[in-house]
């Protein structure tokens, strides 16, 4: 029983424990703590990096979305412009065709008028020629020597 409460032993045990605790503190606790701190810092940094990357991704997504919108708008503008141009061209072609058709019609009318007048002139000429030929034949039958002498007299009067 006396050996149970030996102060020296207790002291030694306490010192031992203290030394152990100190040793553990310096050999285990501090390195582990350091390691844990280091790891915490690393994790925090990585988390920050991830957060930054996410932010950057969000920004880029936003930018891409805006660019897409702008491209869609531009495409719509181009389509609208092309449609307007095509309509204008179609109108122009239609007007030109209309003009050409009118010109062709006018030319055809002029030509037809010319041909009609030509035909009329030809007919008149033919009628004149036939009439004169007929008159000649009649005169050949009807003219007498006295008429011939009269013609000679008239000729001589004119020629003087």
């Amino acid at each position: 029983m006396e050996g149970m409460f030996n102060p020296l032993s207790i002291l030694l045990h306490v010192v031992n424990a203290a030394i152990l605790i100190v040793a553990l503190y310096f050999l285990l606790y501090k390195p582990v703590r350091r390691y844990m701190d280091k790891r915490s810092t690393g994790v925090a940094r990585e988390l920050q990096d991830v957060s930054d990357a996410q932010e950057k991704l969000r920004e880029e997504q936003q930018k891409a979305q805006e660019e897409l919108e702008a491209a869609r708008k531009q495409a719509a503008d181009v389509v609208a412009k092309s449609v307007a141009q095509a309509q204008e061209q179609a109108q122009h072609i239609l007007e030109e065709a209309h003009g050409n058709a009118e010109l062709t019609l006018r030319q055809a009318r002029t030509e037809s008028e010319f041909m009609r007048k030509n035909a009329r002139d030809q007919m008149r000429d033919e009628v004149a020629v036939l009439s004169v030929q007929l008159a000649g034949k009649i005169l050949q039958r009807e003219v007498k020597q006295a008429d011939h002498a009269k013609l000679v007299d008239e000729f001589l009067k004119k020629v003087k």
Binding site: A128, V143, L156, V159
Partner: protein, 100 residues
Amino acid sequence: MSEEAAVTTLQNEHEMEQNEILLLRGRIISGMPLSIAARKRITQNFESMLGCHVQMSTRIDKKLIAGIRVEINGRAYDGSLLGQLTNVRKMLTRHDKEEL
């Protein structure tokens, strides 16, 4: 050559030229037979008109119908019915063109 000789030569040449053109030959084309008197009158008429002698030959061409046509000195004088009908025809056809 002297001046007097040159003038004489020129005068002789002029006389020769006058002699050469003093007789013209022509032709009377008639639609009907012509009497001698008529032929003579025609000849005299042209002689007084042209101021020289005229010798005319005659020919009958029934195409003229009646009247005469005289060809002389490079010209033709048409007094035939055919000529008048031709003028009428020309007038009718030309008049139509002028109207247009």
